[in-house]
Amino acid sequence: MPETIPADAFAAAADGRPRLARAAPLVVTVLAAAALWVAPLVLDTFAVNVLTRSMIYAVLAVTVDLLWGFAGILTFGQAAFFGVGAYATAMLLTAQGGAPHWMAAAILLAVAAPVLLGLAVGWLSFYHRSTALYASVISLVVPIVVTQGIYSGGERTGSSSGLVGFDVLPLEIEGFFRLAAFLLVAVTLAAWILVRSDAGRMLVALRDNEARCAYLGLNPRRLQIGLTAALAGVAGLAGFVFANASGVVAPENAGFLFGTELVIWVALGGRGTLIGPVLGTIAIDYLAANLSGDLPFLWQLLLGTAFVAIIILLPGGLAELARRAWGALPRGQRPAFAPRLRAEPSHAAERTEAPLLTVRGLAKSYGSLTVLENIDVTIRAGELVSLVGPNGAGKTTLMRCLSDGTEPFRGAIAVGGVSTTGLTPNRIVALGVGRKFQVASVFESLSVADCLRLARASRAGLSPLARAETLALPQAVLDILRMTGLDAVLAEPARLLSHGQKQALELAMVVALEPRLILLDEPTAGLTKAERTTIGTVLKGLTADLGIAVVLVEHDLDFVREISSRIVVLHQGRLVLDGTVDEVVGSELVRTIYAGGGHD
């Protein structure tokens, strides 16, 4: 019974999307592979040798770009994983020789060792409330530790002189060139498919708004650790090829300086474009090999100057320049991609009379300042409870305590009978709690449709290979999209939406989680009269028709009066009144709180 929303311009365009564009990665791959197969026949030995190395480095650049350009994790640590892979290979082959089964073991070890290290580094770098800066700090320490480990490894690691003379794969230099080319093409293709897929949106979502990911029930920490470990494995594989192709490994291969060079190449090529970092790395490394013999210092000076200038003036790198030039050409605009919408049968839980949310004796203080004191509230399915009170009454703090069990508070909060103490936001979402923030929290670089798809990801998953042609959403979400006109701008990036549309999008994302309880922090702030009315209608529908409970922090008391089934008044951290709309509106106490200081 899937109901298709009447096709709009964008949805129709999605159907007519040219087949060529969808096959672009494959076409480019085949062409690149063919060219690289032929290349060693026409290039001189020097060029073949240098380019083999450059292409291996380009594989690392792809991993740095996925981490930094897409997922927003600035890392200097890929050099360490590369070094571990290269040393694992060299050490095993030195000890055991290059028999085929030992070669296979070397591949396994070159991938497994960095993956394990990556898991450890990921665990260290990413935790609830960790910062992007901290992850970068750790990524600086890892190569230093690995390098010092190599220095202190004595005979086994060759210390400062590295390892040389171990058995390698029985290939000529053309063979190694093709092996490196194969690895580069394969890794780039895989990365390209990933970033174009629905799962690739996830990386961007992590970069844009990690908190929102958590409040969509996704575990950002696990994703970041997984990504770190997986890309550590890829870097290790590149290390295996490097050890074989060069026949020598040295501490510099794992060092912090090499780690920063990778970042420089990616920045110059254009972070977040994959192809920019690949071409940038190959071009710079190849140029360096040719120029640094004659003008070693001048070359480094030029590179450093270009890097500083690019970071300041052209954060998108040379790829950005190319894109601008390309964009200036007169040509047909390819319509942006938007999936067809489809109604998903509702999974809404049965309505019960048991309390959905119980708060008992909740108290919170910052140092000596008490923000909340002895709050008792019970909320049942289908209620629309407004939380009002003057500035500093503790409303937003209360919302934070309800949605994040790691906030230090005293007292007890339970959702559906389950205590939330110590639970991270994503686990509270799993209990059926959705939260909408005061400042619309959406994924600015993603399209409206992608934002909604991520909101469904904890239930429906995301394809790592392709973009789904349809997007199934609960009927209530489709209604919100239709009422707010968002269904007509599905392909539009969220950052281009108006303030009101962003607020509506965030609400739609929260409803798409099919929560039992929705927490809303000032959903109407800055909205027009018409937009407020729409939001009010939506909220009434959610509570009356679906039995969802809503807790609303709101300053606009007219709005509160219209939609609430109950009003809770907070004042200076205490719950001073909990009653029906009439009781609260008629209350002398409330009038005093709002018109005067509140003490008289």
Binding site: L74, I138, I264, L298, G304, F307
Partner: protein, 291 residues
């Protein structure tokens, strides 16, 4: 990093070990203090810090070539560092205030540029500088490097001067106001852009000063700053914005470095600061500043 001879665990050995810890901590403190000032006020990580150290060390080289008193390198380095820092703040840091991760990269790139300019001017070979103070001093019946004691004194002087500026001057008050609440500072009429500029200049000047003080302890070459950068950076991360916390961190991690170097291995001692600081941050993200 800083060499430490293995000692037999005798009483004199223990005293010398303590002296080593104090002098190591002093040197770490001198190296990191400029970075701390910049991180506190500008809220960016200045990866060109290593380059300022190098610039300072080459000021010592220039002073020697000009035949001046070696101590003249100290004011010269501070002035040169501050001037270069001022230019860097205006043209590189200022456009990147809202992009702190990019500021790390741009300052790193600046470090490369400075390093290569020094290489073009002086070559990449190790430079010899005259000793500021040579010889040994008799401590508990054993000869102890006189210069390391001078470095300890220098750290105390720099620390005291820094504390005085921060606590007693108008500039220090403005800097603290910007660290604590930049919006409020602006709304009271403070020219926060100028506070940032001046603090960045002082930070770069202090780093160059530290570069001069390092010359007797380490070889002077165009990349010498990089080795010191990471340690200083980790110490500042742990100290957050408090210079007392920085002093504490230098003592604790300096002690760890000396002890690991002495009793386990000098190589592991070299990474003790970075690894311990990373672990401290993982456990307590605010580091030492809460204590």
């Amino acid at each position: 990093m800083i060499g430490a001879k293995p000692f037999a665990p005798t009483r004199i050995g223990t005293m010398l070990l303590i002296l080593d810890i104090l002098t190591t901590a002093a040197i770490l403190f001198v190296v990191a203090i400029g970075l701390l000032a910049v991180f506190g006020v500008l809220k960016i990580i200045n990866f060109a810090h290593g380059a300022w150290l190098t610039v300072g060390a080459y000021c010592a080289v220039v002073t020697a070539k000009l035949g001046l008193n070696p101590w003249a390198a100290l004011p010269l380095a501070f002035a040169v560092g501050a001037a270069l820092g001022g230019l860097a703040e205006l043209f590189i840091i200022r456009p990147l205030y809202r992009r702190p991760l990019d500021a790390i990269l741009a300052t790193w790139g600046l470090g490369i540029v400075v390093g290569q300019l020094i290489t073009l001017a002086f070559g990449r070979d190790v430079q010899l500088t005259p000793n500021l103070v040579s010889g040994t001093v008799d401590v508990f019946g054993t000869g102890y490097s006189a210069y390391r004691l001078v470095a300890l004194l220098a750290a105390l002087v720099v620390g005291a001067a820094f504390a005085l500026v921060i606590e007693r001057t108008r500039l220090g008050l403005s800097a603290r106001a910007v660290i604590m609440n930049e919006t409020l500072a602006r709304s009271l009429g403070l020219d926060t852009a100028r506070v940032r500029l001046v603090v960045f200049m002082i930070g770069a000047g202090l780093a160059a000063l530290a570069g001069v003080l390092l010359t007797p302890l380490t070889s002077v070459d165009p990349t010498m700053g990089v080795g010191w950068l990471i340690g200083a950076f980790m110490l500042v991360m742990v100290a957050d914005t408090s210079f007392l916390a920085l002093a504490a961190a230098c003592l604790v991690f300096g002690a760890a470095q000396v002890l690991v170097s002495t009793f386990v291995s000098p190589v592991l001692g070299g990474i003790a600061v970075a690894v311990l600081a990373a672990l401290v941050l993982r456990i307590s993200p605010k580091g030492f500043s809460r204590a």
